[in-house]
Symmetry: C2
Subunit: 259 residues, 2 copies
Amino acid sequence: MKSNKPLILVTNDDGVTAPGIRHLIKIMKEFGEVVVVAPDSPQSGMGHAITVSNNLYCDKISTTGSDVLEYSCSGTPVDCVKIATQSILKRKPDLCVSGINHGSNSSINVIYSGTMSAAVEAGTVGIPAVGFSLLDYAMDANFEPTTKYVKQIVDYMLHNELAKDTVLNVNFPKLTSKDIKGIKVCRQAKARWEENYDKRQNPQGRDYYWLTGEFINEDAGEDTDEWALKQGYVSVVPVQFDLTAHQQIEDLKDLNFEH
Amino acid sequence: MKSNKPLILVTNDDGVTAPGIRHLIKIMKEFGEVVVVAPDSPQSGMGHAITVSNNLYCDKISTTGSDVLEYSCSGTPVDCVKIATQSILKRKPDLCVSGINHGSNSSINVIYSGTMSAAVEAGTVGIPAVGFSLLDYAMDANFEPTTKYVKQIVDYMLHNELAKDTVLNVNFPKLTSKDIKGIKVCRQAKARWEENYDKRQNPQGRDYYWLTGEFINEDAGEDTDEWALKQGYVSVVPVQFDLTAHQQIEDLKDLNFEH
């Protein structure tokens, strides 16, 4: 019987004990057989990093009374997806869900995001995948309002085929259930980070820096994720990993050169 | 006088002492004022990772007799670009060059690549940028055959405006000068990695894993970077960081939902 249920891989970048992934696991159990492979420590901002020069640990962890297989991995979110699909899962999962992230992964944040990189990695090997993020960095963030929409999106993904080589980037506004207006499919806003490094001295007198920065949205479009989130919608952006700027190939023809 | 010369930021992911970046610095000195900000250790496979939970060191290093300012940074390639533009350079650079990487960053490798992520990061803040990679992982790889093409591409970039929000991903075949056929502007091949983790036991009896894998090119197109490289061309792919799969927004309209 069990094998007829969808197999769902759950991961994240805040670490296997984070409240966001705990909330997601609880929801996913209603949809199928759940296997969790997530980092043993916070991996925010790890982007699509993989562990190439170090070994990885990946241990089964026992959560008393749980019917869910869980693994804690010493690597990045992308490592978790790779090791799950190659070494842990007995068949290709029907879905990979990543998150729910504590903090935004909208607009340009998608490229820094471990949460979204895990989803993208699953996408590169043909697994339908989605990353969920809540615009609240707090460890005690309220994930309850996300439940209804996570269910709606997962149900859609299990019953419809996404376009090939596309995964979903879902962000939730920090609002109560009654204030969330619905779901909007949108494009990634054009935005950037303006850094402002905080320079300090260590006790030995050596300078060091902390990364701090300001998020700058340069995009006034009303079809972007930033706009949708500001209006109180859940934003859904289809994300691709063919990074080719196809329309530029023709423009660059001056570079073509043959002996 | 000096300020009339183009300001060129040089970085990489193999670390500031790697032969690939040394070769690139030598070439760049012919084009302008060069500032190097590169990782103090190898950062291959770091993708678009940034350092958020740890502090960074970034020290001026003295290379005797050199007229080039060089900094060694404890962070990732993306950290190097961020700290260079915000804290080290006195003005916005005219160009950011990353590499020359020891190893391929063609096709799907672009998403794992620290070399390319550094270029993409520069692109996000409006700096023309290019990543160079040689299909030879060896530390004693021969970078001489790349010189002519690096010059051609850098000269083009300093005299032409690339499309907004586009950076270049340049890969060199492992060939002698006389065997390289020229330059081809192409698209990223559709390819994937099939992992094969090497499972071992540490001296304490705990299992650990090493990432190994096989690169699988699923794309027979004769307009791809993989094809061009196999034919003996230098491949140039215009790369974007708007990851939106624009053509899918309409297809996903069933997900749009309003109260």
